[in-house]
Amino acid sequence: MGDAKLDLLQGTLDLMVLQTLAAMGEMHGYGIARRIEQVSGDEVLLNQGTIYAALVRLQQKGWIEAEWGASENNRRAKFYSITKRGTKQLADDTEYWRRLASVMGRVLAMGEEGARQ
């Protein structure tokens, strides 16, 4: 893999945003972006700007909602929070990712086992 950062798979950013909001509560766009960068240990290739497309998409699906408010430094910022439907969706998607990851893991491990024999 080397030094190259991970390219985000389609739809993964949405899931990351949902999980971030579920875990951290109300946050503004910059906060979300920073949080994802920190958690991923800077392994993810993320232009912070792309987060806004994901935010509007999730909002339109009704999974998150937004409200203008004041930031820590008393700066006007838009705060996002996860909705009930969003939480449900997150549970589904998490389940899906876990299963996919485990299947992928098994499939990819197959060659290694074969090599060992």
Partner: protein
């Protein structure tokens, strides 16, 4: 476990579906709330970058560096905005709107072009919609009856005229009881004349047209009354209660749509008759069974009244479910020969055959070919319109090549450019379609109210949903067809070349011109096919008008005459003599006669005359068309007579007399003069006193059959009412009042009617052909106009392009005449190429319409000659205008300009 997973899958599906719906709605919202959302996003991004900068500052970066780093981490601001916009709104709709706005501005800037293009498209699309609607009404739409595909028309396989296709009452009753193929069989009395009833209400008596139908007629067709009920079995029985059903338009016209009329009695032919119901608006007897005539009332046929009057009934059957027409035909083959003409006459068995055909085929089958030809003609028009517009657009694309080059240099993709041009085409075609729909709406309304065109179902022609779908599809395909070629060409233009100051290079221009020339040549070829087709049909029409009718319709007029002779021949004779004397005295009237029916108006077949003393095999003597006439008729009609006319003195006391037509006379006495010979008509001996030239009795284009004329003054021949026929040089309408007043003085019960010019009967008979010729002719004219526009466009463009060259040539000594000739020669080259191709295509096309021609061969040299000369003439004219402009080029100006 399994079911649980399934359920969860299902709820998930449902949820994701709901989500996409919600998202779709939100996207729509995003599309419309662009402004607010953009401002919101801007502010959000702004605060994002500030926060990032502050954090960087806190981390100890210099202010400049902190902001730069923040921007880098964010990625492109504009990109992020665009990304967000794309996921929140409807990007494709944005593009479409942008294209539309741009199109609108472009077309507005070039109003002349837009107007011409839209007009051309409106004509092309409008014509197509009209023809489609007519075709749809007559050929495609099902008949306005219940399960019409199971209805069949039953007649002998090869019939000439209606009289050959009718059956006797006894045969009708046998068919109903003996068949296994039909749910039921019905029929109507085929030989009703127009204005055969007299309605007496408040005011003057009025003539009505009524048809006698079998009692089960409406049950078999599956027509329910709009008001009241259908006939009962009692009402179809002799001596039963008198009943009548009103046709919807008549009910509206005569009774103002008064619902209480049902159950009341009206006075028909001086007898009270109960109105039992009103038929629905969708049922029009005339439209389906006798195109171009109106029927006011329908009465139950009392079979016993005309049981032995001959073959008077037409048959319509409703097939049982699962029985095919073929099966019914097979049955008819064995069944029909068992029928009697009349059961009283045992030897009258075995003369019938039957051949069921789908009712729809009977009603519109004969018109199929004409309509298909019409459809092709109008399709050709649309094709010419497309070619023409392609051409116009190509010319425009040439002028706009810089614009396209600029746009493509600024990053517009090729697809985007093509899409822009297609949007323009679609907008033009759409505007043309709207205008065309308006045109066709007006035209179709006009056609629907043209009661005099003898085309079936035409009264119900209208702009319906199917026609709108058709319009939409031809509009889109037209737009793609004429927009795609110029679009592809324009988008392929060489950016470098186009942006250079000199405009496009010479090669590009020449290629361009070559393509346009090809288009114009094909346009001329298509127009040529249309013109020659129309020419052949026009010539056929003229030939039909030129047919020797055997009488002179132009100065004759007829009026239904009412009289009460109490079935006494002498009284009838006295009344008619009185009327003849009084009417003859009116100034302007040259001759007066009477007949119980008029040529080309109805049908009637009797057993034909035979030579006395000769025995014939059954079926050897053809039936004859009978006119029962009074003295003077032959002269009033302008018929040509050899021998003498009837006289008032030919009556029951004198010897029976007959006048034959030439065909019957030749049939009976092939080599002798028949005048003076004795023939037998029915059981009576009659002396042939005259022979007239054949009169076209049932149709103009077919063959004439045998005809015989019998005197009204003999009691053996009961006339079926009477028409007063006059010959006059005055307009008949001008005489109506005076004549009617005279008739009223003799008989106060005379219904008030107008004189019917005999020419109108002839016009009615030729109206379908006239209708087709008019339409095809119009299309050909349109095609010619479009082709000349195309020629003009190309030649004009080439003159503009070659202004310099022409300037140089003139500076070097070419005379204006030389230049002019050069341009016209070029035009002629192009036109004659198109015409040659067109002429070859026409020969093939003419074969396809050969069966529609009358007295004209498909390769009729005069038609080809005239049309080709016409085309060349128009082409020269179209080339002359640019040629004149070319010859007036001032070399000094032309050369200085560059």
């Amino acid at each position: 476990m399994k079911s649980e997973r399934k359920r969860s899958w299902r709820t998930e599906r449902k949820r994701s579906w709901m989500d996409s719906l919600r998202r779709g709605a939100a996207r729509m919202g995003g599309f419309f709330r662009k402004g607010t959302m953009d401002r919101d996003l801007e502010e959000e991004i702004d605060s994002h970058i500030r926060m990032a900068t502050e954090e960087n500052l806190r981390a100890g970066m210099a202010p400049e560096e902190a902001r730069r780093k923040a921007m880098v981490r964010f990625g492109g601001v504009e990109q992020a905005k665009e990304q967000q916009r794309e996921s929140r709104g409807l990007p494709w709709l944005d593009t479409v709107l942008q294209d539309l706005r741009y199109t609108w501005r472009t077309l507005l800037r070039d109003r002349g072009f837009a107007t011409v293009a839209i007009l051309i498209l409106a004509l092309g699309i409008g014509a197509n919609v009209v023809v489609f609607s007519v075709v749809n009404t007559i050929l495609l739409r099902p008949l306005p009856f219940y399960q019409p595909d199971r209805l069949v028309w039953i007649a002998p396989e090869h019939t000439e005229g209606l009289s050959g296709s009718t059956y006797s009452v006894d045969a009708f009753e046998d068919l109903r009881s003996m068949n296994r193929s039909y749910e039921d069989v019905t029929g109507y009395f085929a030989f009703s004349t127009p204005d055969n009833y007299k309605l007496t209400a408040k005011g003057d008596p009025k003539p009505l047209t009524g048809i006698m139908v079998a009692g089960n007629f409406f049950h078999v067709l599956g027509v329910n009354p709009a008001l009241g009920r259908l006939f009962t079995a009692d009402e179809s029985r002799k001596g039963g209660p008198a009943a009548v059903l009103l046709a919807y338009p008549f009910w509206q016209r005569q009774f103002g749509g008064d619902r209480s009329i049902v159950g009341q009695a009206i006075t028909l032919d001086n007898h009270p008759v109960t109105v039992v119901g009103v038929l629905p608006e969708s049922f029009d007897f005339g439209a389906a069974f006798s195109p171009g005539s109106k029927v006011d009332i329908l009465t139950p046929a009392i079979m016993d009244d005309f049981r032995y009057e001959g073959n008077t009934l037409t048959f319509i059957g409703r097939l049982k479910p699962g029985i095919s027409v073929q099966q019914a035909r097979a049955e008819a083959k064995t069944l029909f020969p068992q029928f009697y003409w009349g059961k009283k006459y045992p030897d009258s068995k075995g003369n019938y055959t039957g051949w069921p055909v789908p009712l729809k085929d009977y009603i519109s089958g004969k018109l199929r070919r004409s309509l298909v030809v019409l459809w092709c003609a109008v399709g050709l028009i649309l094709l010419i319109v497309c070619v023409n517009l392609s051409n116009l657009l190509l010319a425009r694309a040439a002028a706009r090549s810089k614009e396209f080059a600029l746009r493509s240099a600024l990053g517009a993709g090729r697809g985007r450019l093509i899409r822009q041009l297609l949007t323009e085409s679609l907008v033009l075609a759409g505007a043309g379609a709207v205008l065309g729909l308006g045109l066709s709406y007006v035209l179709l309304r006009y056609l629907a109210h043209q009661g005099s065109i003898a085309l079936p179902l035409l009264n119900s022609v209208r702009l319906d949903g199917t026609a709108l779908v058709w319009t939409l599809s031809i509009t889109v395909s037209t737009a793609v067809l004429f927009g795609l070629l110029p679009g592809i060409r324009a988008s392929r233009a060489n950016v470098q070349e186009a942006l250079k100051d000199g405009g496009h290079g010479a090669t590009e221009g020449r290629k361009h011109e070559a393509m346009r020339t090809v288009l114009v040549v094909s346009e001329v070829a298509l127009a040529c096919v249309l013109l020659i087709g129309a020419g052949l049909l026009l010539r056929s029409f003229l030939k039909v008008l030129d047919v020797d009718l055997g009488f002179q319709p132009s100065t004759a007029a007829a009026m239904k005459l009412d009289y009460d002779d109490g079935n006494n021949t002498d009284r009838r004779s006295a009344i008619l003599q009185n009327v003849a004397r009084r009417v003859s005295a009116i100034p302007g009237i040259d001759a007066v006669g009477f007949s119980d029916n008029l040529p080309l108006d109805r049908n009637r077949g009797w057993g034909g005359p035979r030579v006395k003393g000769k025995t014939y095999k059954p079926g050897e003597v053809p039936g004859a068309f009978v006119y029962i006439v009074a003295p003077g008729y032959v002269k009033a009609m302008g018929m040509r007579l050899h021998g003498r006319d009837f006289a008032w003195s030919d009556n029951d006391k004198s010897e029976g007399v007959v006048i034959l037509n030439r065909k019957a006379a030749k049939g009976l006495w092939p080599d002798e003069d028949p005048v003076g010979k004795i023939a037998v008509v029915g059981k009576k001996d009659v002396r042939v006193i005259g022979v007239i030239d054949d009169v076209r009795d049932t149709n103009i284009e077919g063959q004439t059959g045998w005809q015989m004329y019998l005197p009204m003054t003999e009691s053996d021949w009961g006339p079926d009412g009477a028409y007063l026929v006059v010959r006059t040089k005055l307009p008949p309408a001008q005489l109506s009042g005076t004549v009617l007043r005279t008739l009223r003085e003799i008989n106060p019960n005379q219904p008030s009617v107008e004189f019917r010019p005999l020419q109108s009967i002839v016009d009615h008979a030729v109206s379908p052909r006239q209708f087709f010729v008019l339409l095809v002719g119009t299309f050909a004219g349109l095609g010619l106009l479009l082709a000349s526009l195309g020629i003009y466009g190309v030649i004009s463009y080439s003159v503009t392009r070659r202004t310099q060259e022409i300037g140089i040539r003139m500076a070097l000594g070419a005379s204006p005449g030389n230049v002019q000739m050069g341009v016209i020669k070029k035009t002629l080259q192009m036109a004659s190429l198109g015409i040659s191709v067109g002429a070859v295509l026409s020969v093939a096309a003419a074969q396809l319409i050969a069966t529609l021609l009358f007295g004209t061969t498909p390769t009729d040299p005069p038609t080809f000659g005239v049309m080709l000369v016409l085309l060349i003439g128009v082409a020269v004219l179209a080339g002359y205008l640019p040629a004149r402009r070319a010859s007036r080029i001032n070399p000094m100006v032309a050369l200085r300009n560059e």
